[in-house]
């Protein structure tokens, strides 16, 4: 973990690399041939309107889908059907409403994989306490089942589950998409704090520019299965690569402004 963030902070180190990766679903090109490096120990945000291929990109990184062409490497190893399961244990994955298993309480959801790996009870309890504090989840909630928790609480538990094994890469697919605005704002701040505290490599998918600007070191803007621009939020605002970037930024800002006026 420590080594990973140190090598990650070395200039140009990358945790995930996509080389000429493409993916079709039937007649639709979800992702056109794409090259992308994900920097280690940084937060990369995949951004764009729905259907632009950002979620496809994320799922390719954790091997939930296999590319039609090209290759995906994680920490120098090419993902194959044979090694993908072992590699997933080094990643954490969070989906929109947490993806918690309804038959397990929060504690068992979070510790599922650790128990499978044979962790002892004291080690699990210690890690749970640590994580609950990190994501600001009241420890009493650990005994609740997902059905008895709020959306924000479920998302915090989902984050704990992804972080349980100290992953080298954390992948989040629209983690705050299903939450109401107030909870969403609060969780955005908490996520930023968690990412900073953990110092791990993060890839986050969102369609929200301000969320991307708040959380991401690097923003990757996609349109129709293609990367349009990659850079900081400032780059997107001040040096748009093409008219689509301008349109996308303007649409989001107009929305923000009108909301501000209300």
């Amino acid at each position: 973990m420590k080594e990973a963030s140190q090598t990650g902070s070395a200039a140009g180190a990358c945790i995930v690399r996509l080389e000429s990766v493409s993916k079709r679903f039937g007649a639709t090109a979800a992702l056109r041939p794409t090259d992308l490096d994900i920097a280690a120990a940084r937060t990369t945000v995949l951004l764009g309107p729905s259907g632009c291929g950002k979620t496809t990109l994320l799922r390719l990184m954790i091997g939930l889908i296999a590319p039609d062409a090209g290759r995906v490497t994680f920490d120098g190893t090419t993902l194959t059907p044979d090694n993908v399961r072992a590699l997933r244990a080094r990643m954490g994955y969070v989906v929109q409403d947490g993806g918690l298993f309804p038959h397990l309480n929060a504690r068992d959801n979070v510790s599922l994989m650790a128990r499978h790996l044979g962790w002892g009870r004291p080690r699990i309890d210690a890690r749970l306490r640590e994580l609950a504090e990190l994501v600001r989840l009241p420890p009493a909630l650990l005994d609740r089942h997902p059905i008895a928790m709020s959306g924000g609480q479920r998302q915090r538990v989902g984050l704990m589950r992804a972080l349980m094994l100290q992953p080298e890469l954390l992948l989040l697919d629209e983690p705050l998409g299903a939450l109401d605005p107030l909870v969403r704002a609060e969780l955005q701040d908490d996520l930023a704090a968690v990412f900073a505290a953990v110092g791990t490599s993060v890839v986050l998918v969102t369609h929200d520019l301000s969320e991307a600007a708040l959380l991401g070191h690097t923003l990757v803007l996609l349109q129709e299965g293609r990367i349009v621009q990659q850079g900081t939020a400032q780059d997107l605002l001040t040096r748009p690569a093409d008219p689509f970037v301008t349109r996308f930024v303007r649409a989001q800002r107009r929305f923000d402004e009108s909301e501000g006026k209300r």
Partner: protein, 517 residues
């Protein structure tokens, strides 16, 4: 991937072994049975109607009187079942009718010469011997009130010619059968006269109230005694003969000649009047077959059979319920062990799943009695065919619900599980099966409740259980006896329902039960 496929093949093989080993086990018991023949009780079967049960009881008590142990497998299904059971050494003997043998069992054996001779030859070719005829011919006959017969001087069917004004009330079956009324009228030259088609029971009532004068009947119907009727003699020999005989396995007969010797004494000793009287004692007076047979043997041969005390009603209920539970429990357990893995396979490989679901669905469409009869050659009579039939019927609800339960898990959860890096087996065990558990359990529950009902049919193949009092009660028109089986069966179904609600509390994870609230 290769490893997973290997697992699947193992499961399929395991399933196939369960199927294959059942007949093999049965075959082993047969072999053991054969070597033990000498000291073993004679197994006498009978068909599921009163006369056959009485004859079976007579044969059993005769064998016992000759010093040989004998057991009565009373009121099994129909002719086919008993014949198969005899050929497959599941029975040593059962009562039969020559007409049935000639028409149904061995129709292709018809030869020249007297029926008795070619039937005996054909039976011997199957390793079966005949004792009889016992003395009565249970065939179609025409009957009139004894008072009317006396007044008009009627003895035989030919005598009816002289009285064209008589009113006939005939059962519709008799009127339409080629060997029934059309043949009788032509051969005896009876005029068109006053002929009405009636229900068989109504015809008896019509005779009693003098609404009709002549009706068709079976020559040993208990009503002959009850209503004081005269059976007119078939003096031209028009009706096919249904002489009662006892069939036995020749090898069993060799091992116990004393039983055969005793049975030979029965030849010609049960005439139609005696048989009708015994049928009436059972059906009209509600006397148990065992006592009726004993009274007959005492009156005819002076035999005093050892009294075997009948079990009390409560003992009988407890015995039948226990057997019933055993049938349901064992078959259900086996079905769970096979059907849940099959459901998992079906969910994992959709194409295999379609084939599997179609196959177990097909099994469900086989009528239960047909399935039971079909299994006699493989498994004999007794609990084995009933257990296998119940097992087969339990597969569909469990396989289908396991398949549906696993298939209904939201993709997001499936993906979250895969993303954790858990191996497939652990995903199945820790996530998929618990999530599918409410549906799987519901499938097992419906299989169990259906089984409680279907297991009553086991009585028809000698498996015992609560079907025994139910079918005997139906045969004897004895409501109390029907209730003795039906009430515990309904109570059992309710109990099973309650039991599964209890099991749900332990098996279905709390998080899923909260959702239902």
């Amino acid at each position: 991937m290769r490893l997973r496929r290997g697992c699947a093949v193992t499961l399929v093989l395991a399933g196939a072994l369960v199927f294959a080993s059942a007949p093999a086990a049965a075959a082993r018991t047969w072999r053991v049975g054969r070597t033990w023949r000498v000291g073993r009780p004679w197994r006498v079967g009978s068909k599921a109607f009163t006369e056959s049960v009485v004859l079976g009881e007579v044969a059993v008590q005769m064998a016992r009187a000759a010093g040989h142990e004998a057991a009565h497998r009373a009121a099994l299904g129909g002719t086919r079942l008993l014949w198969d059971a005899l050929l497959h050494d599941q029975l040593d003997a059962y009562p039969e009718y020559t007409g049935t043998l000639a028409q149904e069992v061995l129709p292709s054996a018809r030869g020249t010469g007297p029926e008795q001779d070619w039937l005996a030859r054909a039976l011997a070719a199957h390793g079966v011997g005949v004792v009889g005829p016992l003395g009565f011919n249970n065939t179609y006959a025409l009957g009139v009130k004894r008072a009317l017969a006396r007044r008009l001087g009627l003895h035989a069917i030919s005598d009816l010619r002289a009285h064209p004004a008589l009113r006939y009330g005939l059962s519709s079956e008799f009127m339409s059968r080629a060997d029934g009324w059309p043949l009788v009228r032509a051969r005896y030259g009876l005029g068109p006269g006053d002929v009405k088609g009636l229900d068989h029971d109504l015809a008896y009532r019509g005779l009693a109230s003098d609404a009709i004068d002549v009706t068709d009947l079976y020559s040993t119907d208990p009503e002959i005694q009850r209503d004081d009727l005269l059976v007119l003699q078939d003096d031209l020999g028009v009706f096919p003969r249904y002489d009662a005989v006892l069939l036995y396995r020749l090898d069993s007969g060799q091992a116990a000649p004393e039983v055969l010797a005793a049975w030979q004494r029965l030849r010609g000793r049960i005439d139609a009047g005696a048989m009708a009287a015994m049928n009436a004692r059972v059906k009209v007076d509600r006397v148990p077959e065992r006592q009726v047979a004993a009274a007959f043997l005492q009156a005819t041969f002076g035999l005093v059979p050892a009294a075997t005390p009948a079990p009390s009603r409560w003992q009988a209920v407890a015995h039948h319920t226990g057997r019933h539970l055993l049938l349901v429990g064992l078959s259900l357990l086996a079905a769970i062990l096979v059907a849940v893995p099959l459901g998992i396979l079906a969910a994992r490989w959709p194409r295999l799943g379609q084939v599997l679901l179609a196959t177990v669905g097909l099994v469900q469409t086989i009528p239960s009695l047909a399935l039971l009869v079909f299994m006699i050659p493989l498994l004999g009579i007794g609990p084995a065919p009933a257990l296998v039939a119940l097992f087969l019927y339990s597969l569909l609800p469990i396989v289908r619900n396991t398949h549906a339960g696993l298939g209904g898990i939201p993709p997001a959860l499936r993906e979250s599980a895969a993303a954790l890096g858990l191996p497939r087996g652990a995903i199945l065990q820790r996530i998929e099966l618990p999530l599918a558990s409410p549906l799987i359990l519901a499938g097992i529950k419906s299989a169990a409740i259906i089984n409680v009902g279907t297991a009553t049919l086991g009585a028809l193949v000698g498996a015992g259980g609560l079907g025994e009092p139910i079918f005997t009660g139906i045969r004897l028109d004895d409501l109390a006896l029907i209730m003795e089986g039906a009430v515990p069966a309904s109570a059992l179904a309710l109990l099973v329902q309650g039991l599964f609600e209890l099991i749900e509390r332990f098996v279905v994870p709390k998080g899923l039960r909260l959702r239902n609230d």
